[in-house]
């Protein structure tokens, strides 16, 4: 038996283990959304004038928009005036200078989550910009990155120190008018990560950030902006965990990636937010806008993600292929169990010549889970020799779940080649029989088959994430196997 299968098995039958609330003194603005709140957020973060203007423009535009209804998801209406739009840990008013400055309670929280910061400084390769609610509290390996000219810091710090970069790139991929949730984010985003890789630099380590929702009734509005300048390379990891609770929480993040000539960005996500309990009570609403732009020739953006959490996931990491010969990739595993709903997929827009895109999506539905793949492959008239290959497979475990595939293909160039393939099936009785006949218990056999089903995507994850992803899959499938 493989290690992976054993790990997976150990985790089956476990309750959500990251469920705890840290009691911290926080600095929260009153509930509700109005211009006052936005001015307050901007003022507290000592933002330059252009940021406030941008937020206000987004806020005014948001009022003209309506919440989208097209997705295959169902939830009670969200009261946007009943959310507090800003919360920051209060301890260390002038910003922590080292780990010892941090609130010890905060450190313990991270340890429980399995991200011991102290160890991570020593351990190889990973610099963590840990986001606790909305303000980044610690950044490691900064000096080492600074030597190479790499900027990797909380968004609010980037606004202070590199306003010219922020002003140039913020909203250039996802404009503030993009969609309801992205516009809301543009108006109220509290913090996030900012990353700039200068020309020709290959980032020597996997950059990583952990998001975590902690404060009750606080929506999280993260903003991530990654810029890979000419010939640069960066691999970025994002991981999510959230404490267990009964109230639904709104999360509307925006991630923007910009790849200039010959640059490459790899963005990997493991999303394990609280999915609600077995009856579908509680859980995170995750309405995220993620988009990358391959601006220069030969640039390359790849999204890899494993989604096991959230009550509702609404997320379409996309790539706009502007530069000639640019490449977009999307590898995804989305799992829905109990009453989880996922409406996810990707958009590949081919604009430049000889652009290529690959989409590999694996959906697993169990319990009452509803899993929808919604994708768009668009080839514009100028995209000579564009090439796309899409494969989406769905695996069904249980009689009450659903799997839906809605690929849109729009082609306006006769030299384009676009292929789409999809299949939906459950684990075959013959496959199970093959395993049980060789003495493997049915539950183990199911785990093995599920691991095998997702292997093609896990191969694209960085090493440390691949292990975590396997574990998450196991936890999330708890009670549905056999």
């Amino acid at each position: 038996m493989s290690t992976a299968t054993r790990q997976l098995d150990e985790l089956i039958g476990r309750e959500y283990r990251h469920g705890f609330v840290t009691t911290l003194e926080t600095d929260t603005v009153p509930r509700g959304l109005n211009e006052e709140v936005i001015r307050m957020i901007s003022a507290r973060k000592h933002e330059p004038h252009f940021m406030l203007e941008w937020r206000l423009k987004a806020f005014r535009h948001w009022f003209t928009m309506r919440e989208p209804q097209w997705a295959n998801i169902h939830h009670p209406p969200i009261d946007y005036q009943n959310i507090s739009y800003y919360s920051a840990p209060r301890s260390g008013k002038d910003g922590p200078r080292s780990l010892s400055d941090l609130d010890p309670e905060l450190l313990r929280t991270y340890e429980k989550l399995g991200i011991p910061l102290k160890e991570q400084e020593v351990l190889a390769g990973v610099a963590v910009d840990a986001v606790f609610d909305s303000v980044s509290v610690a950044t490691t390996f900064k000096e080492k990155l600074a030597e190479l000219g790499i900027i990797f810091c909380p968004f609010s710090e980037a606004v202070q120190k590199h306003p010219e970069l922020v002003q140039q790139y913020l909203g250039s991929v996802v404009p503030y008018t993009d969609n309801f949730f992205a516009t809301l984010n543009s108006a109220v985003f509290s913090d996030g990560s900012f990353c700039y890789i200068p020309p020709g630099v290959r980032c020597p380590m996997e950059l990583s950030t952990y998001f975590r929702i902690n404060e009750r009734n606080t929506g999280q509005f993260e903003r991530t902006l990654i810029i890979a300048d000419k010939g640069a390379y960066v691999s970025y990891l994002e991981g999510c965990t959230a404490p267990m609770r009964d109230e639904n929480q709104l999360h509307a993040a925006v991630v923007e990636l910009v790849a200039l000539e010959d640059a490459q960005i790899k963005y990997a996500t493991v999303q394990n937010w609280y999915p609600g309990d077995k009856e579908g009570k509680g859980g995170i609403y995750n309405f995220v806008t993620k988009r990358g732009e391959c601006r220069g020739a030969n640039s390359h953006i790849s999204w890899t993600r494993v989604e096991t959490g959230s009550a509702i996931t609404w997320k379409y990491p996309s790539v706009v292929l502007l530069g000639d010969n640019s490449v977009g990739e999307f590898y995804s595993v989305a799992l829905t169990n109990h009453h989880q709903q996922a409406d996810t997929g990707t958009k590949m827009t081919h604009v430049g010549r000889n652009t290529r895109s690959t989409v590999l999506s694996k959906g697993i539905s169990a319990g009452y889970g509803q899993n929808t793949y919604r994708g768009l492959i668009k080839v514009l008239p100028g995209a000579e020799n564009a090439r796309n290959y899409t494969q989406c497979d769905s695996l069904l475990l249980g009689e009450q779940c659903g799997a839906h595939t809605m690929p849109y293909i729009e082609v306006r160039n006769p030299t384009a080649q676009v292929e789409h393939e999809a299949s939906t099936s459950r684990i075959g009785e013959d496959q199970l029989f093959y395993c049980t006949q060789r003495g493997i218990a049915p539950e183990e056999a199911v785990s093995m088959i599920v691991s095998g089903f997702c292997k093609a995507v896990f191969q694209n994850l960085p090493m440390e994430f691949a292990v975590e992803a396997q574990k998450l899959l196991g936890v999330s499938l708890e009670g549905s196997t056999g």
Partner: protein, 442 residues
Amino acid sequence: MNIQLESWEHMALEQIPQFLAGSGVPWVSQARQSAFERYKAHGLPTRREEEWKYTDVTQIGKRASLAPDSIPPDPPSEAALFSWALAQEHPHLMVFVNGYYSDGLSAIGEMPDGARLESLAELLDGTAELSSESLDASHEHTIFGALNTALATDGAVLHLAAGTVLQDPVYLLFIASGHGTAIYPRNLIVVGEGARATVIEHYFGMIDAHHFTDTLTQIKLAAGAELQHCKLLQEGNASFHVAGIHAEQAAHSRFGSQSFALGSRLARNDITSRLNGPECQCEFDGLYLLDGKQHVDHHTRIDHLAPSCTSREYYRGILDGESHGVFNGKVIVHPHAIKTDAHQSNRNLLLSREAEVDTKPQLEIFADDVRCTHGATVGQLDDDSLFYLRSRGIDADSAHSLLLYGFANDIIARVADPGMRTRIEHLVLDRLPQGEQIKELL
């Protein structure tokens, strides 16, 4: 002319004309009236609606009248010759001119016992027992369906009693004649237990006639029944055509639908089947061969409602000029429809820089023990195949046409009736450069 158009529209939008069949029969008027209310409440669909995202039908309301003709026009002289030629090949021929049955052009011939082929208008005015099914609102899958219920002029009603086998196909020819007319044929096909038939619907129009056809065909298959339905759209290049073909299948029944879209300016076909009983078979095939400014949209939907059903769907398109092809194939596997086996494929060839294709194969699955696949491709002719032919001395144009024909022929070969198959083969070849030469080769 404009004033006249407006007045027609005015009439269509305000009330149902009195001259329509069955206007003296209370339930008919009631069914028409309520359908008309549904149409008025909704209006023509816009591109903001998901089902009409790629097809703009608002131009229909602007360019053509929506009111049907009050009296059947005299058939154009070509129609007589064409009908006569068809009647030699097909013993059961019904001809409709602008949606009205033409007794003179038709040749229904002798039907076997248990088979009845009639005109809907006669049925609506009479008291036949079939009439209650004929304007069934549950078959209105789109707002054009409601418009058809409200304004249907005439159509064919085919009824086969249990065990009846119709050897020769029923050929329904719908001729569109004149400018600015709106045509509303409505057909009903009821196939009894274990009965078998083939029905061909052929829509034919003059080259540059401006008209609007809104047709609807309802199909009911009893247990073990089999129907092969073939639709050929060959209207003029200025016509608008909207069609619904909606089937209900009982256990062990088999339904085959073929749709060939060769002519019309803008066409939309909604083809659906509900597999209500176990072990049904359903096959949808289609071919769209487009050029110029043509726009053809196929929306298909197969509902698997019972266990152990099989569905197969093969659609292909060849797009040249500034044409626009749209395909949306839905396969919905409802809860408890276990052991479903569904396969769907849509392949497109883009031949010109201005052509566009939008395809959306769609699977919605609510049961676990199923096997469903779908695939879609957009591309060009294979260079290796072209080289293979060229290296054997076949000139570039012929090689190109031969490969296109091969691509189309996979669908044409699925037509059951040999006469119809040959007719479509020739129509396709006529559209290809060097088609004459290929005809000789075959």
